[in-house]
Amino acid sequence: MAEHVILFTGPMGAGKTTAIQNLSEIEVVRTEANNSERHIVDKETTTVALDYGEILVDGDEKVRLYGIPGQQRFSFMWSILKKRAKGMILLVNSDAPDPIGEMTFFLEEFRELYDRGGVVIGITRADVVAGPTLAEFSEALERTNPGLVIPVFTVDPRNRDQMENVLLALIVNIEMREAFGMLTATETA
């Protein structure tokens, strides 16, 4: 039975907790605290350690879903969580002050997950504001990280079907790159 460990990354308010909640088939382990930065992102609570959920794909492939806290003061958790993951769904909210900057920041921060697994990018809240287009995200990706094969989607983290498609796209991407010997050695947790 294959197992995957996938990390959901991206800034606060991108929809990581919501995505994991919608995908998980077990009760999600959540570590929420009241958000005292509502002037920055207007949501009541924020993740301060991790989110954890699980989903089975193809009947017997267990996928462990971990979510990071999005703020840099929790970067010590990023180091802990990135060690055990083998792929990343990077969610970026279109209504962030600099969504393209956030995308390139998190991609750089978690770049090792591309090297030993794969990355898919989901642009969220694209229906809320007229942020950068998918083409602009892709161009920025090619400019900052030429040659990387990273699919970019718009996605609604509240929509389970959409999130499942993003997750399956990532798993197929990882398995293909694995089959073609394109990955570096997996780090152990």
Binding site: V29, T31, A33, N34, S36, E37, V48, A49, R73
Partner: protein, 131 residues
């Protein structure tokens, strides 16, 4: 929307004073920090240290403790203790507030003493915030 307690000068001042009193009450106290539930440093001892990273860590620990007690269905988490060869960290939530007090004691203090001191000062902080 109300801003976090770390942004309120009166709270920061009261927290700093409280930590100084805590050190007077226990010579074994070597580090202490008050932080918000969502990981912002409010005050720390010694005061000149950068508490940003520790505040994030302590709030994560607090939330993980809560997640564990929830998972095991054993009610609310009351305190956390990390014991090491050079001392012990005692951490608990300030009653009724979105604040956490985390304190490091050297091994001259028993865990019981460390817990009693930390509890007392967490309650004092709660009382101060109510006045």
């Amino acid at each position: 929307m109300s801003p976090g307690l770390h942004t309120k000068p009166a709270v920061v001042k009261a927290a700093s004073t409280l930590l100084a009193e805590m050190q007077e009450a226990s010579s074994s106290l070597t580090y202490a920090a008050l932080l918000t539930d969502d990981g912002f440093d409010v005050a720390r001892l010694p005061g000149e240290t950068d508490g940003t990273r520790f505040a994030g860590m302590a709030s994560s620990m607090q939330a993980l403790g809560d997640a564990v007690t929830h998972e095991l269905k054993i009610g609310a988490s009351e305190y956390l203790i990390i014991a090491s060869g050079k001392g012990h960290v005692v951490q608990l939530r300030v009653p009724g507030q979105e604040l956490v007090l985390s304190a490091l004691f050297d091994n001259d203090a028993t865990v019981g003493h460390a817990l009693a001191v930390t509890r007392t000062f967490a309650q004092k902080m709660a009382d101060l915030l109510l006045t």
